[in-house]
Symmetry: C2
Subunit: 340 residues, 2 copies
């Protein structure tokens, strides 16, 4: 653990010069730069991050909040996290995992005030998310995976492109001849948190339905597969002409799929199923395998982290990955032409 002083002595320069070589905040002549670089290499020098953070007032650490209560923690959250963590590392930052049971940000704020955190990434964002205000009020930078009601502006976020996703879904479904479609969404258990994604998708589906001449009827369920299974009968009873189900609720969707199996309802013969939020790893377990339009979670995590860090560093928004992601339609075995 060599220090700056040792590097300076070995290179025959002052400590300040070593610092400026590292940060590039002052012009240093090429020969001196080389001497310093050589000395650093020889000593295996790495600046002490704690000292950097203390002197510079920035820790270059961000936190990713995992809300563990409302609907549990899904595999998709892990992908967000891995994408964000990898991006952070690429940019010289680090990402700490921050599980929260109750969506409270008190501890996060305290930790940020203690200098450990420069910023926070939130998931499962509500349309009116008080966490965002609370954090911004005390001067903590916030990045979102998802988005509040605020229109673009200077918000730092990565989110699904709900409009495009809905259009892709209904264009595909309408193309197969389906006219009556059930749209399966989530009902939060316990504390009601209206996630922004839900509202936005509902709106987008409504609009896209009109555009493609498809009747979209909304159904709700918890994320418990058993609840999804119980929904099959009501859906078919209420509107017998329904020939397709599009779901934003992966848990309920697999339950519903299982129920079709056990009741001998042909998929995709009688009913086509399209999931808008099922992670790749999950699909392999379903049979028949679900047709999906899933958001690229890893890339969204990456984008959110890069945007937050760009915001922290005050660098521009050029060369950043996209803000909105529609996700690709992957046709598998649960969708087909509507019955005549």
């Amino acid at each position: 653990m060599a220090t700056r002083a040792e590097v300076a002595k070995l290179a025959g320069v002052s400590e300040a010069t070593v610092s400026y070589v590292i940060t590039g905040n002052r012009k240093i002549s090429i020969p001196v730069q080389k001497r310093v670089q050589k000395a650093m290499d020889k000593l295996g020098y790495r600046p002490n991050r704690m000292a950097q953070a203390l002197a510079g007032g920035k820790s270059r650490v961000i936190a990713l909040l995992f809300p563990t209560a409302a609907r549990g923690v899904a595999h998709v959250d892990l992908e967000y996290g891995l994408g964000a963590a990898q991006a952070a590392q690429d940019l010289g930052y680090h990402l700490v995992m921050w599980p929260t049971l109750d969506r409270s940000v008190q501890e996060v704020i305290a930790t940020a005030k203690s200098g450990l955190l420069d910023g926070v990434i939130l998931m499962e964002v509500a349309l009116h998310d008080e966490r965002v205000e609370q954090l911004k009020d005390v001067g903590i930078a916030v990045g979102l995976i998802g988005r509040t009601a605020t229109e673009f502006g200077d918000e730092v976020f990565a989110d699904r492109d709900f409009d495009t996703a809905a259009h892709t879904a209904l264009n595909y479904i309408a193309g197969l001849g389906h006219k009556e479609v059930a749209f399966l969404t989530e009902k939060t258990r316990g504390k009601p948190v209206v996630v922004a994604a839900l509202t936005r998708t509902k709106q987008a589906m409504k609009a896209a339905g009109k555009l493609y001449g498809v009747n979209v009827k909304n159904f709700e369920s918890t994320t418990d597969p058993d609840d999804g299974a119980k929904l099959l009968a009501p859906i078919l009873d209420e509107i017998p002409k329904i020939t397709a189900v599009i779901s934003l609720n992966p848990g309920a969707m697999v339950g519903l799929l299982q129920e079709t199996n056990s009741r001998g309802i042909s998929v995709p013969g009688r009913l086509s199923l399209l999931s808008m939020a099922t992670p790749e790893s999950f699909v392999s377990a379903t049979s028949p395998r679900l047709t999906t339009i899933s958001p690229p979670a890893y890339e969204m995590g990456d984008s959110a982290a890069r945007r937050l860090i760009a915001h922290l560093e005050g660098t521009g928004v050029e060369n950043l990955p996209p803000q909105l992601w529609a996700g690709e339609l992957v046709v598998r075995e649960t969708t087909g032409p509507a019955q005549a």
Copy 2:
């Protein structure tokens, strides 16, 4: 962001006294303690973690390595992470997510030398895992989820209790009258990393098989469900008397299950299926739902983190959660009596 100096002035004591009140490393009279406490509360004081780390030589930050290459990152890894992160928070530590593509620890070592990391938790541990030596050689504390070949000693780890798991599995299976069992394990794609869990489970299954009078025949597959599906025919051809499959390979298991569905092989009539490593969230997608003995990943992450931190702080190993976890047998729909 009040500082120690302000607290000291408000309380009418020296800065050192404030420090000692916080750390408890010197005896301070009760009245003074109360004055200081009151001053801290009034100012909303939080010690600056960067300064603490710099002065104290400890960052109280640990990293969790996510190996993203060999078999991808599974949901179980997220649970390890959440358990470890929560434990860390409870103990005043923080856990950074550290994805690694190639199992290299060079960057981790560099970061630890820079003072940001006090220790590291490794997953997917090999019997002879060079990462452990590399880290320990440079004085970085290591905790394991899993375990190397080293017998207990002073190793810091949480691992599955393979013997108990194997006994539970075979006791249950033998009790159903099965005599010939296929044991389905993982074949690493690409770089061959022999994960310790694999070796240990094989041994345990062998021993337990003898004990319960069950013939256990080993089969290998990648974690790709399609590969698992392809294994059904060979298994039934090679040893027609096989009536049960026990799997350590969740991916292959779901593929195999799907293959029984599509080939009309009755589960559990003709073949019973028992998975030893399928996360809860995954099970809900399978139909019929898999009987499992799964390790409690959250608790194992918790245990590993607590043990690593206890090691770092030099506190004893009393009051720590268990080191070995067998996991509970959850009987669902894929196991039943052996055919006569």
